[in-house]
Amino acid sequence: MSNLQSGNGHTHILLRHRDIPDIDNLDVYRENGGFKVFEKVVTTMEPGEVTEIVKASGLRGRGGAGFPTGLKWSFIDEHNWPHYVVANADESEPGTFKDREIMEGNPYQFLEGIAICAYAIKANAAYIYLRGEFWQIAERLDSHIEALEMDSILGTDLFGTDYSLKIYTHLGAGAYICGEETALLESMEGKLGQPRLRPPFPPSYGLFGKPTVVNNVETLANVPPIIENGAEWYQAIGTGKSTGPKVFSLSGRVVHPGNYELPLGTTFRELIFEHGGGIPDGRSIKAIMAAGASSALIVADEKALDTPMDYESVPDLGAQLGSASIIVIDDSIDIPWLVNKTAHFFSHESCGKCTPCREGTYWMMKLTERIVSGSGTQDDVALLHDVASQVQTKCLCALGEFAIEPVLSGIERFPADFEAVTKGKDIS
């Protein structure tokens, strides 16, 4: 593992605003090498070469799915035009707040990533889809884009070539589902944010039915340093199949919640206890959710704490890394209460298109309400498990799958918590 970074005064690759004051000012960003990579790419490289470097770097999507970014770019349909880049800035997963910090603190690196991606897939227009609550961020991005146009870094005939690029912001209006890429595209087109049946995937049928690459904010922010320093440099950070730095959003019962940029493969223990300062109030750690509310609950034993946070190791704990939004649960928390919180969230956010998810999330919410209120029985717990199991693999997108993760893992891995709250309540 690289000795790279972070939190301790070392150099950040993504959260560079923590090392360089005012990097959200275009002049400062350019003084620190900003947009030299984009210029080099446009003036000296073929689009395909750019994609090859990203592919070789091993960069995987930071929004949660972990799909190889360069591979996604290479899928773009060359027989259908125009092409689009859409940056997914809908950041709505409970526990995730990394894209917001990147866009607020180091916005030009994100914009440069969009620009390089656009060149690589031969797009002349890119949209940033921000959740509606990011109103102020959108206004600031608009003024950053304007500054880039003033400096002729965006616009027509860039750097003396015939390449042109415009970037636009677009505000959503409060819908978690729009973080799912096809729901996001529907929403951008002015429709209800509901997922599409796939295939076709966005690189062949995306925005306005045109080939589109949808990438997360953090993913795109990785692109300029990859092109600048090369694939080998990037591969040296992180682990074999999970390369590069990652911004871990740490929240919940921890002394120092916040974003921590660390190499993929850092252990839970290092993040939670070294960087996060451990558990407050003399409590001990009980469970970890690694992918925000969409996580299976990991029993926080010694083995789990020593597990590297990468795309390969977390599944060994019966969970996923996802967007690496680490929610820490201490021993003061009752798991049925937690499961009710997440069930309530997913019930509110289900778009309603697929019946198993729409109905399943609703009934999971109602059942967990009854269990938490103390009037539930073990039969209700069994029914809850049954309802959750029936949602599995039956929906167009992952929302339903996410919704059942805390429910099933909660019941299976923390049975005592459910027994405690239903004790002596069996009707029979």
Partner: protein, 176 residues
Amino acid sequence: MLAEKYSQEINNIIEKYPPEERRAAVMPLLHLVQRDQLVIDRASMGEVAEILGITTTEVASIVGFYSLYYDQPGGKYRIQVCTDLPCALRGADQFMEQLCHRLGIEPGGTTRDGLFTIEPVMCLAACDKAPMFQLQSGEGIEYHENQTVENALSLIESLRAQVAHKGGHHRRDENE
């Protein structure tokens, strides 16, 4: 009315999208309406529909689907407290409860002067700075993080004073 008052803004919005994809402008146009009126009524939905060449029903379905659009009036200011899991682990439920108690309203309710609606909302991507809320008004959306009930109450008082100072009229209303 909308078309006259905001012709420049409307053009700027529509120009972001390909001419044959005008419908993509529906969400930004609805944001514009709501910023102006704090609520999206039938007449405005009709107007947006006309600008974009879609039906009022289609516009109404968008308003109904997305939680940031309101077709029912609320307080002039909406204080929207995130009570999702990470915030709840840092006391957001108690914050919400105490704030409502001090204002003498139920969650989702509006203060008697009609100025403040306090409501729970889903995750706002500020989990490390809970308790937190967003303040939504005709001016846009503003985050208030690492809050205490006292902080929130003093913000409410200062907004009240501001409104009283302006004679009870909203800034934008004065132009009408």
